[in-house]
């Protein structure tokens, strides 16, 4: 177990390094830099902009910039936001909490409702809940997310029930995108587990009712759901970045989109690393849970 975890942590660190290098490479690929915006001010001479670029090291080759940054990152210095002229970590710290709060709420809401509804559907296939959830999934998947967000924002503005920029609006906008995907997978997993041969065999041996669900079906359904569980938080978080920007929730979302458009690439790098780290952590947690759950992984043949 220790070796397994140590291996995975090493993989995660490698992942983060690759991701950061990737962001730098992509940043080099995207044309224009932070100071390009100054070019639309007729009073600023392009020569002055070149000096600014030099000053911030933007004229140096990307690999040199990356090396300098990586050396700093090892020491905990993740660079400076060009726009805000302050350390990225300092800039992000107050916002990360807000994003995590929103994403966790939507994520928890998604999982709880997905599991409850999926169970309801699986207990009585073809029953009312089954039909309702299937409709819910279809409808939510079909509605363009952007449209839903616009409508919600418009309703919020017109009725004043939900405050623009408030938590409720952001959550209500984010959750409909999260629930159907989880629900769909939870339903499928429970259905598949309920139809597994060993469940059939258990039934043939006379095992039924709650024991069958608790002992046989749930653990079997958990297997695919745990993998999804690991991936899903990072997924919800990345969806929340856009939702935050649309609804005005003051998390990292608006800042991140702004930073991409503004080529404030240290901010982009750190936010991306954060996402990658969460993703890796989620997958790692999922693997650890699977390890605990599935004896095939931890015992010899």
């Amino acid at each position: 177990m220790i070796r397994f975890l140590a291996g995975r942590v090493a993989q995660a660190v490698l992942l983060l390094i690759v991701v950061s290098a990737g962001v730098f490479a992509l940043a080099a690929l995207a044309p224009g830099d932070y100071f390009a915006a100054l070019r639309s001010d007729p009073r600023v001479d392009p020569a002055a902009i070149e000096t600014l670029r030099t000053r911030y090291g933007l004229d140096r080759p990307v690999e040199v910039r990356y090396g300098v940054w990586l050396a700093g990152a090892v020491r905990g210095d993740f660079g400076v936001s060009l726009a805000y002229n302050m350390p990225v970590t300092e800039l992000l710290a107050p916002r990360v909490g807000k994003s995590l709060a929103l994403a966790s709420a939507a994520w928890a809401l998604g999982w709880v409702s997905a599991l409850v509804l999926a169970l309801g559907a699986a207990l009585r296939p073809g029953g009312l809940i089954d039909k309702l959830t299937s409709w819910l999934v279809s409808t939510l998947l079909v509605l363009p997310e952007l449209l839903l967000a616009s409508v919600l924002v418009l309703v919020a503005a017109r009725t004043g029930i939900l405050r623009l920029g408030g938590f409720g609006l952001a959550l209500l906008t984010l959750a409909p995108g999260v629930v159907p995907v989880l629900l769909r997978h939870a339903r499928a997993a429970l259905k598949e587990a309920a139809e597994a041969t060993f469940v059939e065999a258990a039934r043939a041996r006379g095992i039924a009712g709650r024991r069958l669900w608790v002992m046989y079906i749930f653990p079997a359904a958990a297997n695919p759901l745990i993998s999804l569980f690991g991936m899903s938080f990072a997924g919800v978080l990345s969806a929340s970045l856009v939702v935050e920007a649309v609804t005005g929730w003051p998390g990292i979302g608006p800042l991140f989109l702004d930073s991409i458009a503004g080529r404030d690439f240290y901010v982009v790098t750190v936010v991306t690393l954060l996402m990658a780290a969460l993703l890796a952590a989620g997958n790692l947690a999922a693997d650890a849970m699977l390890y605990a759950l599935d004896p095939r992984l931890r015992t010899p043949q």
């Binding site: 990737g22 044309p31 998947l141 363009p144 952007l146 990072a234 990658a276 993703l279 997958n283």
Partner: protein
């Protein structure tokens, strides 16, 4: 039995949709880019039947004019200089109905193409990861994590900068859809990997190694049928995603450009609440999109079964 009928209906609707957009040249009364600057932002024309003929209000004068059928190389239309916009016009006086038809060409193709590319890559990577050696699994899955985490917008911005400017809007768009599809492999790959692993555990593959061809045949059939389920489900999720991707892409100037037209660019209006509130008919493409999504979903569900 009901589900099967639904599937046929959905497939029929989709086929009709594809036929309609391919036949846009005949079905649409105007060209998608034809501007009628004297009649911008007109609401859908009021129509009525008079003596067995369809009569509509001219978009310019408001006077009643008769609708002509099967003339001038179009299915229907009003006689010039009168203008007939069945679903209203946009800010340049372009006919919404015609634009929806022409726009569907790009949208319907792009969505399918994008979904197919990312499904195909995801399938290959997922199964390789599940059935291949352990190191390959680790490499592919970590690579997938990189793909999920990186801000691909940068890449798309970069690629746009390197593409020649005089590429046709459609070509640029297809490049982006394919690119987006290539970037979207990681999520389906994880699911296919899970599927591959469960199939491996199920012993079909094992069995197929040790026994006669008929076993292999059974295993393959079983595997294919399970794969079909996941592919169908993923397809149902991905097609709408790619249909909407162009709206998101257009947000960053990576969508289809004028004079090109697509549902995504038409839907851009949902981001402008004031415009939408004043001219609600501009949201008409949504009325087309929603049934298309539904049909894709019903079909995918049927495939999954």
């Amino acid at each position: 039995m009901r589900a099967r009928a639904g599937w046929k209906l959905a497939a029929g609707v989709l086929a009709g949709m594809y036929a309609a957009v391919l036949g846009a040249g005949y079905l649409a009364p105007y060209d998608a880019t034809e501007q009628h600057r004297e009649a911008p932002l007109r609401a859908p024309a009021a129509m009525q039947f008079e003596r067995g003929r369809l009569v509509v209000a001219d978009a310019i004068s408001g006077r009643k004019v008769a609708v002509h059928w099967f003339s001038g190389g179009h299915l229907f239309g009003a006689e010039a200089p009168a203008l007939y916009f069945p679903l209203g016009s946009d800010e340049f006086g372009r006919d919404q109905f015609s634009r929806i038809l022409y726009g569907g060409r790009i949208s319907l193709m792009a969505a399918l193409l994008g979904a197919m590319v990312s499904l195909g890559l995801g399938l290959a990577a997922g199964l390789m990861s599940a059935l291949g050696p352990v190191w390959l699994d680790a490499v592919l899955m970590r690579l997938g994590e990189v793909c999920l985490a990186l801000p691909w917008l940068y890449l798309l911005l970069g690629v746009r900068a390197f593409l020649p400017l005089d590429l046709s809007p459609e070509a640029v768009f297809v490049v982006f859809v394919v690119l987006a599809g290539m970037l979207g492999w990681a999520r389906p790959a994880r699911l296919f990997r899970g599927l591959g692993l469960s199939l491996k555990q199920a012993g079909y593959v094992e069995a197929s190694r040790g026994f006669g061809a008929s076993r292999w045949y059974v295993a393959r059939r079983h595997m294919l049928s399970e794969l079909r389920g996941v592919v169908g489900t993923q397809g149902a999720l991905l097609v709408p995603q790619f249909l909407l991707a162009e709206v998101t892409l257009s947000l960053f100037g990576l969508g289809i450009n004028e004079p090109g037209v697509s549902w995504g660019t038409m839907l851009d209006v949902v981001r402008q609440p004031a415009m939408l509130a004043m001219n609600p008919w501009l949201a008409m493409p949504v009325l087309v999109l929603v049934p298309v999504f539904l049909c894709f979903q019903v079909c995918a569900d049927a495939m999954a079964r």
